[in-house]
Symmetry: C2
Subunit: 383 residues, 2 copies
């Protein structure tokens, strides 16, 4: 029995996505920049994919720049805007609970002389809009706030933030890697200028993503070369990957409501069941929360031990996020919402996906209390 509950880390490629990709590996394998028939066929597949993805988020095709994934998209958005608009100002605003691809990029920009302000969040992980308003000044060129958090699933007030900068010469970027295909994403409704997307979180292949860049945005590349992607991202386009990405977006949007409803029910059953364990709590917001995200804390134990014991029972889960697993520090997200370090260490993230059923939930709810009990017995944290 193997139950995969780590869909926020990555997802399996949907068989229909893989099927769509297959012809572009060995048969229609052309370089989209070549002018012969192999090249033109590749170019056509590329542009059709661009159209599909654009349509899915309310953009136009020319506003989609393909990248190697969410991290590169975040880097392109922040570095590309910060440097290109440096003459106008050197202040960047973000939140304290962003993905490392945003936070580490901001740290780099700070080393390069930019000023970075980190807007705080409330104890449920919602970015304080007044915190952004307070630090916004004439030097601000870009604000970056994620659509939903990858660890605790909290959905951010994107439209409210967009409202603040609406009349100002400030670009608004949002990382929608965790929300695309899970809850509605519309660049115009949101009022964002840049939006990061990734394929492998929505049953598409790894190594492909995109950055939505609103027409007229002043931005420069971070990867230079042959001038692909309107000069914003050089390098031979990954046609098979991009075709798979487009198919994944299409499928995810077709099933969005049905899946969200199904997963929300499973999520709430999981949360209710887990919170029956004593000294446990929910991290994040009860309702302004991704349909597939469960993040709970347990007193006196280490999340890593929890994950390893669950793995022995065939359950794949995580503590913190996969993207932060290279670090030993407690999750910056949990710390930001006010968890004490020792409590932040005892967190468990379960993220549902298409394959999960009520049986999976029941199995987890049966296995978890015993594991928590066992770990607490061994815990040096209990006096």
């Amino acid at each position: 029995m193997r139950i995969y509950l780590d869909h926020a880390a990555t997802t399996p490629v949907d068989p229909l996505v893989l099927k769509a990709m297959q012809p572009y590996f060995s048969k229609d394998f052309g370089n989209a920049s070549s002018i012969h028939s192999f090249g033109r066929e590749a170019k056509e597949a590329l542009e059709q994919s661009r159209e599909k993805i654009a349509k899915a988020i309310g953009a136009t095709a020319e506003e989609i720049i393909f990248t190697s994934g969410g991290s590169e998209s975040d880097n392109l958005a922040l570095i590309g805007i910060a440097f290109k608009n440096q003459v106008r100002g050197n202040h960047i605003i973000t939140s304290s609970i962003e993905h490392p691809a945003v936070l580490s990029t901001c740290e780099y920009l700070a080393r390069e002389g930019f000023q970075v302000s980190y807007a705080p969040v409330d104890k449920e992980g919602i970015v304080k809009v007044e915190g952004i308003e307070k630090v916004l000044d004439g030097q601000t060129t870009v604000i970056s706030v994620m659509h939903a958090n990858n660890e605790i699933g909290t959905i951010q007030p994107i439209e409210e933030i967009a409202e603040i900068v609406k009349e100002k010469e400030v670009y608004f970027h949002s990382d929608a890697v965790q929300t695309l295909g899970k809850i509605p994403v519309d660049v115009n409704k949101f009022g964002v200028d840049l939006l990061s997307l990734s394929a492998h979180k929505i049953y598409g292949p790894k190594g492909v993503g995109a950055l939505y860049v609103r027409k007229g945005t002043r931005i420069q590349p971070i990867i230079f070369g042959g001038g692909h992607e309107k000069g914003l991202r050089s390098g031979t386009e990954n046609v098979a990957g991009i075709v798979g990405f487009a198919k994944a977006v299409e499928l995810a949007n077709e099933r969005l409501e049905e899946e969200a409803n199904k997963q929300r029910k499973l999520r709430d059953k999981l949360i209710r069941g887990i919170l029956e364990i004593n000294d446990s709590w929910l991290n994040g917001h009860a309702t302004k929360r991704l349909p597939n995200n469960v993040n709970v804390g347990f007193k006196y134990i280490e999340g890593e031990g929890l994950v390893l014991y669950l793995d022995e029972k065939g359950i794949s889960a995580s503590t913190g996020s996969a993207c932060s697993s290279h670090k030993l520090e407690p999750s910056h997200v949990l710390t930001a919402i006010g968890c004490k370090p020792e409590d932040a260490h005892g967190s468990l993230r379960l993220t549902l996906g298409r394959s999960n059923t009520e049986k999976d939930v029941d199995y987890v709810l049966e296995a978890l209390p015993g594991i928590v009990k066992k770990l607490r017995k061994m815990s040096p944290l209990i006096k």
Copy 2:
């Protein structure tokens, strides 16, 4: 009848490569950073691939940094070294016939205040080593010279260049995208500190590459985030792509000599046959040349017309390189070897691959003279 003669632009994924990749899409799909079994399996596949690629070029696994492809590798090498070593010097040396991923990156670095020197080449496209020696100074931090040129196939005196910087605190980078799997590549024999590699030029998938970074090299990332790839390249690793890349390297090296011999014969037959057409010439060096590269010039005609007429006959060829096809200017490589702009426009590149046979060569040699004749008839360049 379709004859693909544009293998320098891209290659079809080898069926054995695709077979090796398949399990990592939908079955063993884990995120290599996850600590549960799906993650550990992905991590193992990743590290085995790293070992294989390292071994193939005489490196150790820890010296291989996976990227999204050759362009990103070139960017990481140059930007990463230039900025990280800025305190020591701000001078970069490259050649006038590098790939756009190197040249455009150097232009960017020049805008950022770095000094860039371009070493000239002789009329066969060989970089003048004394040209590098002449400009090398105490400010130089990195030299970048490609292993073989992507347009005219000229193989560069890498070892001689390495010799110059051997005792100096100067890093040596080489773009080996066109040579990996075609002629022997060994980082220690070459004496390089950084080497760019790409999968899709050797029957691997698009969207995957690597940068060899010699142990102890001072370099900083260009994509920041979760700290993957020893902190040098953040972003969830493209496991399927990387597994495919490793398999492609393995296959290419196994068949290297056999393929090189076969293609060299076909290449020379093509060159001999084509040069029977009047007012034609070979671009590049006759022998210090990639086994699969043919680049010829024709007076009075446009390469683009040639490519389109050949395409009508089922032959996929190119003029200049696919990576430069976004530009209308004559090839910087042909200009650098002394072609007049009107002659540079009349160039044709045919690059052989595993699938090509003597029959293909005969077919091209039969079709080409008529096409050249037809184009010359229409040419406004003949007075």
